[in-house]
């Protein structure tokens, strides 16, 4: 064995306090040269503690240098693509610096250093106060685990404390900390406590304080509420149990793999995942099914990152996910996806259940234990959901998903009992047809099951299949391509399990080289300017991946107040939830404030005249005419050019103070006299948060035209169809008459008026007709209407635009369509409504690209809300002013201006 590294006396004195304080009950203190634990013992044979100048030490320094460089590249990738949160970036900076110090420290001090680093990361991520409270609450839980009382008493106490925490989690009791600590505290303790207690009960060796604190507060956890369930025994057993350099290399490989998963996830999330309501054809359905399952890439990406980071601190943990898209059966799928969860279930549920029941004999104990595992998994997912999001997720689709998957795994297990699978020690054949078919069949079945799990309701999932019969011309080619490609990929033997043996690898297959090359490749790809000229499409796609934005569906859910009936908080996507979770509880939707007046007519609601409230932390006043503006005389004063501005929240000015809406700034800008006339300009703000295009039409007819506008500015975002659909569904289900015969006819043609029929909700028209013939009263269920009406959304929008243009022109005004979104990327796909607006005779002002290449953080009202702030509103006003200058003649601004300004504001 190599000579041990001798720690200088002064260093020993400085760090000595760690080792005096660290040993937990039952552990004797160690000397400076002795290993601190069994894990250290295992590693003491490695080069890490060998004397300076030995070959091992030189190699380690080289590895540390390479890994450090790779980590810097990782930081650049995270920064360039804005991966995960800013907290994640900060913690990774801390982790990079920490890695270098940690790797250079003598082995026996590393665990203590890792613990300190982990504790330091908590206030970095959560702030000092929340960080301190999180640690204190965590220490309380750990302390209870070590009380000198019977295990049952400790468990009871933990349950009691857990119940108290649950009350706090539900915000039923005041607390000196913010709600932000619960997802993280939950992630740290909700499952690990069980594994820790299990170890305390069954293992003779007592954990040291450093081991315990490292286990519960481990470094990357603070920025990942969804965290793999790491087993305590594995955490300790694998600590530096192999050559450190190899452990670091594996860690880097997994970190890079995690980054790739996250980038792929972002592509799927932004460009493939869609709204099940918007599916039209078989091809859409196939894409939706595929994308829904592929969204799991985010979890596997995060888990790879987490396990990779822990490798950098010596924890040689097993893989968290292993080629799960290539599972060849349901039992195989269960073994490959979220392996830590499967191991957790095996340890705490499956084996204990099996051993308790095995006196039954035969296969019954195995079946029963598997059923118990899936039942537990279902319930524990809901328990996990509670700590992460504050609500339980016990819905039929969850029960169905776990029930069906459990049943399939039971059947698979029984088959494997009869004819066991044949694992291989070496590599299998290059390609196997039967393997390809089994994998493709399993993948397809899991895609379908996964879509059920992700569905808003079982009913909406069933109705989603209605479009399967609509085969578009390219759909069969798409399917054929997917099947063929799938078979080619699935039949190949992709890899054997992770191995430590790199000795036989050629130079270009060395993990460090591969990881570095991949990181450099991603960095080059992340600079689209380098190749935009040669490949503009690729450059645009990559550029879209460089921002952590919501996809079209989530953006619609997030920014509008219209989706209440369609939205189901418990099924919100992770991306959307991350955003929503930051929103303070008092930031409620406009309809839940005193400034909103509900109405029983087609408009459904408007601003309450004279209301004064604080909305999203800003004063919001409504004039006596129901506008967020000052009062105006109905009759337009002479020499005045009046603009009636209609639109949703960003027109009303959500999150900005009175006088800071873009309507205010535009009016101010127009009246500076830069247009070279003496007119007085008035911009009347009729904006109401959550308004659809149809409500803009209704308000235009009811109120805006009575103010004699010269121009009517209708404003909407790229996602203008869902609000129209949601508004009509609300109108129909509330049995409100549609005051426009043309629109009424369109809606009747879709059949959704059956939503308002008396009787039981029964899906499918044929079934309702059959039951009707039997004398039963039935109606269309909400989920069916939600599927049907969007199929006609384009026609509805087109009709609305034509009507607005006609009404505007009928009152002698110029119709203008302002295409404006909140502070986000411009839409990737063309927005058809712009063409429809032009065709209807609108002057179109396209401001979708307004926010490009700007510091968006400086232009939004809050981290969790991309509505433009005052600075953003000024930008909008400035662009509108420029466009008005460019289109003077269309806006009839070139007509002879009056000689005198009759009004000033």
């Amino acid at each position: 064995m190599a000579k041990r590294f001798q720690i200088p006396a002064h260093v020993s004195r400085v760090v000595g306090f760690f080792r005096i304080a660290w040993p937990w009950s039952g552990m004797s203190s160690t000397t400076a040269t002795a290993p601190a634990s069994k894990a250290s013992l295992a590693a003491s044979d490695t080069a890490e503690v060998s004397a300076p100048g030995t070959a091992g030490q030189v190699r380690d320094l080289g590895t540390i240098a390479v890994v450090s460089i790779q980590l810097v590249l990782v930081l650049l990738v995270i920064h360039l693509f804005q991966l995960e949160s800013r907290t994640f970036f900060h913690v990774m900076v801390l982790g990079t610096v920490g890695f270098v110090i940690h790797a250079l420290l003598p082995l026996q001090y590393r665990l203590s250093f890792f613990t300190l680093l982990s504790l330091l990361a908590i206030p970095v991520a959560l702030g000092l106060i929340d960080g301190i409270f999180l640690v204190v609450l965590g220490l309380l839980l750990i302390g209870v685990c070590h009380l000198p009382v019977r295990m049952a008493a400790r468990v009871f106490l933990l349950l009691a404390i857990g119940a108290l925490f649950a009350v706090w989690r539900m915000d039923l009791l005041p607390a000196p900390w913010s709600m932000a600590i619960w997802p993280i505290l939950g992630a740290m303790f909700m499952f690990r406590l069980a594994l820790y207690l299990y170890t305390l009960k069954h293992e003779e060796k007592r954990p040291t304080l450093a081991q315990t604190l490292a286990y519960f507060f481990m470094l990357p956890n603070v920025c990942f509420p969804l965290y793999p369930v790491i087993d305590y025994s594995t955490f300790i057993r694998t600590y530096y149990d192999r050559d450190a350099g190899r452990i670091y290399e594996t860690g880097m490989r997994w970190i890079v793999r995690g980054l790739l998963h996250l980038l792929l996830y972002r592509f799927v999330y932004l460009h493939l995942a869609g709204d099940p309501i918007g599916l039209l054809t078989l091809g859409d359905l196939v894409q939706f099914l595929l994308a829904t399952f592929l969204l799991y890439l985010r979890i596997s990406g995060q888990f790879h990152l987490i396990a990779g980071v822990l490798h950098l601190y010596g924890f040689r943990l097993p893989e968290t996910n292993h080629l799960y898209y290539l599972a060849s059966s349901f039992t195989d799928f269960w073994r490959r996806i979220n392996i830590y969860w499967k191991d957790f279930m095996m340890k705490l549920v499956y084996y204990p259940s099996y051993f308790r029941l095995r006196s039954w004999g035969g296969n019954a104990p195995l079946v029963a234990a598997t059923v118990i595992v899936f039942l537990s998994t279902w319930l524990l997912h809901s328990y996990q959901w509670f700590w992460l999001r504050g609500g339980f997720r016990l819905e039929p689709q969850d029960a169905l998903f776990w029930g069906v998957l459990g049943a399939l795994v039971v059947v698979g297990s029984l088959r494997e009992m009869k004819s066991p699978r044949k694992p291989r020690l070496g590599r299998g054949p290059a390609w196997s047809a039967s393997l390809a078919l089994r994998r493709l069949a399993t993948f397809t079945a899991i895609c379908i099951l996964w879509s059920l799990w992700s569905a808003d309701t079982v009913g909406s999932w069933l109705l989603m299949w209605m479009v399967a019969g609509n085969v578009a011309p390219g759909d069969l080619w798409l399917l054929a391509g997917l099947v063929l490609g799938g078979l080619l990929v699935a039949g190949r033997t992709w890899s054997v399990r992770e191995t430590d043996d790199n000795t036989t690898r050629s130079f270009y297959r060395q993990p460090a080289l591969q990881s570095t090359a991949l990181l450099l490749g991603i960095l080059v790809l992340g600079n689209p300017d380098l190749y935009a000229r040669h490949s503009p499409q690729l450059a645009t796609t990559v550029a879209s991946l460089q921002r952590s934005t919501l996809n079209a569906r989530d953006a619609a859910l997030h920014h509008k107040g219209y989706y209440e009936k369609l939205d189901n908080n418990s099924r919100m996507s992770m991306q959307l939830w991350t955003k929503q979770a930051q929103k303070p509880a008092h930031w409620v939707g406009l309809p839940d404030t005193d400034a909103y007046r509900r109405r029983d007519d087609f408009l459904r609601g408007d601003l309450r005249p004279g209301a004064k409230i604080v909305f999203e932390d800003q004063p919001l006043s409504v004039n006596h005419q129901g506008m967020r503006d000052r009062d105006y005389p109905l009759a337009k004063p002479a020499g005045t050019y009046r603009i009636a501005l209609l639109g949703p929240s960003h027109v009303m000015g959500s999150g900005v103070a009175d006088g800071e809406t873009f309507a205010d700034f535009l009016e101010e800008r127009l009246n500076r006299g830069d247009l070279g006339d003496n007119r007085h300009y008035e911009v009347l703000n009729f904006g109401v948060a959550g308004y659809s295009l149809l409500q803009q039409l209704a308000l235009l007819e009811e109120r805006a035209v009575t103010f004699q506008p010269d121009a009517v500015f209708i404003t909407d975002s790229p996602g203008l169809k869902p609000p129209v659909v949601a508004h009509l569904l609300d109108v129909v289900s509330s049995r409100v008459a549609i005051p426009y015969p043309g629109l009424d006819a369109l809606v009747r043609r879709t059949g959704v008026t059956a939503l308002a029929d008396p009787g039981f909700p029964v899906p499918f028209e044929n079934v309702r007709a059959l039951l009707g013939a039997l004398g039963m009263e039935t109606r269309m269920p909400w989920v069916e209407a939600v599927r049907r009406l969007p199929l006609s959304a384009d026609s509805l929008v087109q009709w609305t635009l034509e009507r607005i243009a006609a009404v505007t022109r009928g009152h002698g005004a110029v119709p203008v369509f302002v295409a404006l979104d909140v502070v986000v990327d411009p839409p990737v796909k063309e927005v058809r409504a712009l063409q429809d607006a032009e065709a209807a005779g609108f002057l179109v002002f396209n401001l979708f690209d307004l926010w490009q290449n700007r510091d968006r953080r400086a232009l939004i009202i809050a981290e969790w809300d991309e509505h433009p702030n005052a600075a953003g509103s000024r930008l909008i006003a400035e662009r509108l002013f420029e466009l008005m200058q460019q289109h003077r003649s269309e806006l009839r601004l070139d007509a002879a201006a009056p000689q005198l300004r009759t009004h000033s504001r």
């Binding site: 099996y354 494997e416 699978r421």
Partner: protein
Amino acid sequence: MIQDIKETLKQHILKEFLPGEDPKELTDTTPLITGGILDSIATLQLVAFIEERYAFTFQAHEVDVKNLDTIAAITNFILSKKL
């Protein structure tokens, strides 16, 4: 005795879980659970074999990687139970 146990285990594993594989590929330190050779069902089948062959009973918490991941670990565990 140790060698007997190892040989018995090796023959059983080769016959039941790795039919047709080269015996030289299976060493005392080949990872069985973490290497994907033994899944939960195979692990329980191996446990049943060991219990019958060496006349002792496993506890649920003893069915884990520490005791069953390699032929060497299983041998040590059997010895700890028998001695």
